[in-house]
């Protein structure tokens, strides 16, 4: 199957952002992180699409929305290889890759059940110690949340 045919599975948008190469299991997480579940414009998505590079992938297309890099970088925690394509007039205006940020705020729960952020209403904050094999140090309890015990808020 060539790329053109595959693209047609999720129809094109005129203006907006395409988020491609999302791991198949992470599409709904990305939708939630970017609050697209409550977004008032057209949002198209597909998951378990065949991908030459990744086996199966997901894709999200958001009409009339252009994100700030820091908004998109938080999805790197679940979609580290996602590419961001800005579409203007049905054409690719810009293509970038997400990057794991230096700090993470509010998206991830601290894995430590005895952490104050799991007891009171507090926005979590982490320093990213390692980007490849993700390790997040909690700003409050100073414990380290790793990929295996990462839970999203």
């Amino acid at each position: 199957m060539n790329d053109k045919v595959k693209e047609l599975k999720v129809s094109a948008i005129e203006n907006g952002t395409v988020i491609d190469h999302i791991p198949a299991g992470a599409v709904f997480q990305v939708i939630k992180m970017l609050k697209l579940d409550v977004f008032d414009q057209m949002v198209l998505f597909g998951t378990n699409l065949e991908s030459k590079k990744y086996g199966y992938k997901g894709i999200i297309k958001v009409s009339n929305k252009f994100f700030k890099p820091e908004e998109l970088n938080k999805i790197a925690l679940v979609a580290p290889h996602a590419s961001i394509i800005e579409i203007r007039d049905f054409r690719v205006a810009q293509k970038t890759l997400v990057e794991i940020p230096e700090t993470v705020s509010g998206i991830v729960k601290c894995f430590n059940p005895n952490c104050i952020t799991n007891i009171e209403v507090i926005t979590t904050r982490f320093t990213v110690l390692e980007k490849e094999d993700i390790r997040l140090k909690c700003h409050y309890c100073e414990k380290i949340t790793v990929k295996n015990n990462m839970v999203f808020k």
């Binding site: 005895n114 104050i116 952020t117 007891i119 309890c141």
Partner: protein, 302 residues
Amino acid sequence: MKNKSLVSINDFTKEEQLRVLEAAREFEANPVQTILKDHVIASLFFEPSTRTRLSFESAISRLGGKIVGFSEASNTSVKKGESLRDTILTIANYSDLIVMRNPIEGSARFASEISPVPIINAGDGSNQHPTQTLLDLYSILQTQDTLDNLHVAFVGDLKYGRTVHSLVIALCNYNTTFHLVSPVELKLPSSVKMHIKEKNLAYHQYTSMEEVIPNTDILYMTRIQKERFSDPLEFERIKNSYNLHKDMLVDTKENFKILHPMPRVNEIHINVDEDPRAYYFQQALNGVYVRQALLSILLGYR
């Protein structure tokens, strides 16, 4: 440093830590100075810790300050479900500084972010207890006359001992050589060793303490708790090998001193107590001077 909070030892730079130790020397020489006579200090102990609380309250009293607060959470609004946020904001109205001990990790950091008055963390669960680290540094400085280039041995539970972790990290500023003595199950975690490696300092690991005694300046003893072992037989097998007796102190350096964060169980035999190399009771007293120094600095009097 006025109005700064102390949550984690790393909140203070090396210079700021040394400033506290210098001021502590002044209070050791002259402990009763009523510089806080117009101040109210809140002492909030959400879990009991008599030793730490009395040390703080003694420091406050010797400075002439008034104390408000509680020694356990059972009779307070906290028990009725009040949030820490509300407790801190309310008590900050009644006091110039809050000393807090709380079993919830990160509670002190959170309190310091919402409180209009400085917070001193007197222990937040397994996380931080920075005044213990300052008094340990002070005890080392007082016995060795320097903090630089020392050989420091840590003995016992190096895995779960928060006191050990903070002191190791603090000593990484002073070109320390570390001697780490523990059962295999209770070795210093790699997250702490990382700090030693970052500074390219030397560390050696042992499972018995005999061979480190002649080579160290400071022997920092800690308690090994039975519940840390998955196999109780393993605890029975090793428990006595980390106990210090007087007859083990044969070939020590002249400046050699024994420290312990207290309370001890049987890891230091009472026959060591009268030895001039035993420093752990003085170490506890040093806690009062260091806390006097810290309170004075954070309230702008030093």
